[in-house]
């Protein structure tokens, strides 16, 4: 008589929970370790945060936000701040687009076999510009440009130059080489080849990158003022520092409104373009 088959043959057993050869297991283990170490090493004051006392002070804090200050005089001040924020982001992005394009040229290999000697160095500079956030740039620039929106504009421009320069360089390197080669075989120089063959091809892409960054920069510009670089953020830091919560609430409302309007506008524009 044959033996009854095992209900669960050995090779059908579920795999062991941890296997030294399983990449995902190591990945998960590393993440769990990182998370545990993070929570363990930070002295997070949950007890203080969740205590009755803290909750009460939180409640009081939120209650102070109401009613928001809506006197016409203050609203006008907020409107000026919002306009300043918008102008900072637009001008900063514009400057960054120009500087980014100027740096993208040495950072890209223009044709097959092009030596592109400055490529590595320029890319290094772009990465450095990009990895320092706008706010840190603003804090650094305050020293030479003084308090005010000018420092904020330059800070936005520097960070965005890093971001756009890299994106532009990728776009230029990935442009179809046909028209450029045609001009180059007739002896046209690099500058003119770029202006009349490469640029017209990549311009729509460059524009869409720039618009996308502008959208990001409007959000960034709103908070840059916290270190003293102008716009809505400066108003916010000022009135919050004086504990004028009604005014703070108005400014927060204005920020939310601005972000919402920009989001809606860009969403609408993208839908129009893709239709």
């Amino acid at each position: 008589m044959s033996k009854p088959r095992a209900a669960n043959e050995p090779y059908r057993l579920p795999p062991p929970l941890f296997d030294a050869r399983c990449k995902a297991c190591w990945f998960t283990a590393a993440i769990v370790l990182l998370v545990v170490a993070s929570f363990w090493s930070l002295d997070l004051q949950w007890a203080q945060f969740l205590s009755l006392d803290a909750l009460r002070s939180m409640g009081r804090f939120v209650a102070e936000f109401f009613p928001p200050d809506t006197s016409p005089k203050f609203l006008q001040k907020v409107a000026i701040g919002a306009w300043e924020t918008l102008a900072m982001s637009a001008l900063g992005t514009g400057l960054a687009a120009v500087a980014g394009l100027a740096l993208a040229l040495p950072a890209s290999r223009l044709y097959e076999g092009h030596a592109a000697r400055a490529r590595t160095l320029t890319r290094l500079i772009l990465n450095a510009l990009r990895s320092i956030p706008e706010l840190v740039w603003a804090a650094l620039l305050l020293i030479s440009a003084g308090l005010g929106p000018f420092a904020g504009t330059l800070a936005l421009a520097l960070h965005t130059t890093g971001v756009l320069g890299r994106l532009f360089a990728e776009a230029i390197e990935n442009a179809p080489p046909g028209p450029g080669t045609a001009l180059r075989t007739h002896g046209v120089g690099n500058g003119r080849v770029f202006l009349y063959a490469t640029l017209p091809q990549v311009l729509p892409q460059l524009l869409s990158y720039t618009l996308y960054r502008w959208e990001n920069n409007i959000r960034a510009a709103a908070v840059l003022g916290v270190v003293g670089a102008g716009g809505l953020g400066q108003l916010l830091a000022f009135h919050m520092g004086l504990f004028q919560m009604g005014k703070t609430a108005t400014i927060l409302g204005a920020m939310l409104l601005m972000v919402a309007v920009v989001d809606a506008a860009s969403h609408g524009a993208r839908r129009l373009m893709t239709r």
């Binding site: 002295d43 030479s144 916290v226």
Partner: protein
């Protein structure tokens, strides 16, 4: 035959249009320059130039004594830990909201229109997510510093709320854009919504969800440095202190460490996303 036809035009045929648009651009940019007090020559005024040069002169030599380096290492870890803890808590916020929010998991939507109650619940969650992510993390941090005092708690909470909003929104979009046939079948055959999520929706989208989360973790490291500037601890706070004391050597060293940290996070995140496919 006219010889002019044979020689190619030496001038750009479209120069008039280009000149016009250049001038138009300047006219548009003028009010922006006024609003932002855009005066580049301020940078070159002798007073400002002197201050700048003095500050830049202190950049070298870089600060590298053992005590300082130990402090930088500790604060760098705190920055990473703040970002990691923040993203973990953001997941705690985002996952339940995503489960409520996802249209695919609606039982009433299987047969025509979604019922009114669930519809408004989903709409409410959507608005909550929008509010959470449209307040910048820096503003959340300013608020929490008032409530819980200076320290990493405020930073972690700020990251948790903003990133909770972002993750919740994008998770919802990922889940709804993928293949939903398996999930629908499970729901139609009487599985619970949680079962349909775990066995239908999650396996098809797991790689994309993880890769987006890793990308956001990388962003959180960058923003946790910024949060230090309002008193949430970490590398940003030390940078702010050194800057206020015009200690250029320390500022330069910390900026270099920061650039290296961001580059490392960039590499780790790119590698992980590639490994996930």
């Amino acid at each position: 035959m006219d010889p002019a036809l044979h020689t190619p035009p030496m001038r750009d045929p479209a120069w008039q249009g280009r000149l016009f648009w250049m001038l138009a651009l300047v006219v548009v940019l003028w009010p922006l320059g006024v609003a932002t007090e855009f005066k580049p020559w301020v940078l070159l005024e002798p007073d400002n130039l002197k201050v700048t040069r003095q500050f830049l002169d202190t950049f070298f030599p870089l600060a590298y004594d053992a005590e300082f380096l130990a402090m930088v290492a500790r604060e760098t870890w705190r920055t990473v830990a703040m970002a990691t803890a923040g993203v973990t808590l953001a997941l705690v916020v985002a996952i339940p909201l995503t489960l409520i929010n996802t249209r695919v998991l609606s039982v009433s939507a299987l047969s025509g229109r979604m019922a009114r109650g669930p519809f408004w619940l989903r709409q409410a969650v959507r608005w909550l997510l929008i509010v959470l992510r449209s307040i910048p993390e820096l503003v959340w941090a300013l608020v929490f510093v008032r409530v819980v005092g200076l320290g990493p708690t405020a930073g972690v909470l700020a990251i948790a709320l903003t990133y909770g909003g972002m993750l919740g929104k994008v998770y919802g979009e990922i889940l709804e854009s993928g293949e939903t046939h398996a999930t629908e079948t499970l729901l139609r055959n009487g599985s619970s919504r949680l079962q349909a999520f775990l066995y239908g929706l999650l396996p098809t989208n797991a790689a994309e969800l993880t890769s987006y989360t890793v990308y956001r973790w990388e962003c959180a490291i960058r923003s946790s440095v910024v949060l230090g500037f309002v008193g949430a601890g970490g590398l940003g706070q030390q940078l702010d202190n050194s800057m206020k004391m015009f200690n250029g050597g320390e500022v330069a060293s910390m900026l270099l460490v920061f650039i290296a940290l961001v580059a490392l996070a960039d590499k780790v995140s790119a590698w992980l996303r590639k490994a996930l496919g």
